[in-house]
């Protein structure tokens, strides 16, 4: 009798363990493939929405009467949270168009790269800082370590193309090093004089013990009406 029971118990434990194993396997499939499928779809949708939106709305001229800012509404933090407002092109990493959404919470980063809310808008004097996934959820910055000093980064907005040039190879900081996204990197509080871009992502792959940083300086800008900037039409070096 007890032998029968023991066999049943052993079998049940075995089946539960197998079930757990299968579930973990499914979780891997979810992380490795499914999140990328969903995020790639979402990013494509964001990019095509932006293009449609920009095609319809004739951008307001720069000289239009500026909206009077509220007390908490600096030029740096306008835009609805979660709304995509720009498209990032990094020739070194391929032809992928990466939407930039307002805010850096995890749910937003599955639809593009996130704009640090207190950093400036693209092209402005200060630091335009964005965060992106290194792995999973579309992994827009998967190969960020392949960037080299001198590589170009193009930001497309409703009315302008901004071209930044990276000043140095990617480097590593602590996850708590907020100074890299300050208006003047490493000198929080200092008044900015240059228009910079900062890309942040996890390092190493699959972990978040460090942050990988790429920085660049604005070198050119042209209105959308002038067409694609040279940075996107010349044959830039690719890592692959």
């Amino acid at each position: 009798m007890w032998a029968e029971r023991a066999r049943l118990a052993t079998r049940t434990v075995g089946e539960i363990l197998i079930t757990l194993g299968v579930t973990l396997f499914l979780f891997c499939a979810y992380q490795l493939f499914y999140t990328n499928v969903v995020a790639d779809d979402a990013m494509r949708a964001e990019v095509s929405d932006l293009h449609k939106q920009w095609a319809v709305q004739t951008p307001a001229p720069r000289t239009a009467v500026p909206k009077t800012p509220g007390p908490f509404d600096s030029a740096d933090s306008q835009g609805r949270a979660g709304a995509a407002f720009a498209i990032l092109h990094i020739p070194r990493l391929g032809d992928k168009s990466i939407p930039v959404v307002e805010g850096t919470s995890l749910d937003l980063l599955s639809r593009g790269v996130g704009h640090y809310k207190d950093s400036v808008r693209p092209g402005r004097v200060g630091n335009f800082a964005v965060a992106g996934h290194r792995k999973t959820h579309g992994e827009p910055f998967r190969y960020l370590d392949e960037m080299r000093a001198g590589d170009l980064i193009v930001v497309e907005t409703a009315d302008t193309w901004y071209t930044y040039r990276t000043d140095r190879d990617p480097f590593i900081v602590d996850p708590t090093d907020l100074a890299v996204v300050a208006p003047v990197p490493d000198h929080p509080g200092r008044k900015p004089t240059q228009a910079l871009i900062t890309l942040t992502t996890c390092n190493p792959w699959w972990a978040s013990t460090e942050r990988m940083i790429v920085t660049g300086t604005l070198v050119a800008q042209q209105p959308r009406s002038k067409g694609t900037p040279p940075a996107l039409t010349v044959n830039a070096p690719k890592f692959q």
Binding site: T12, Y34, T35, H133, T200, S208
Partner: protein, 52 residues
């Protein structure tokens, strides 16, 4: 466990297979749609932003 469940699905074998397959599919959808997205932020490989 599975033998027990199998015995308790009513009907002939092909109905049992159908019911079991549907149940598995439902569980997978539940996992991918709700359980995994909920577990994910608790995993250590998704922190991207520089923050405190």
């Amino acid at each position: 466990m599975y033998a027990f469940l199998w015995r308790h699905i009513p009907g002939p074998v092909y109905v049992k297979v159908l019911v079991a397959a549907t149940a598995v599919a439902l569980i997978v959808v539940l996992l991918f749609g709700w359980v995994f997205p909920w577990v994910e932020p608790l995993m250590p490989f998704s922190g991207n932003t520089v923050s405190q």
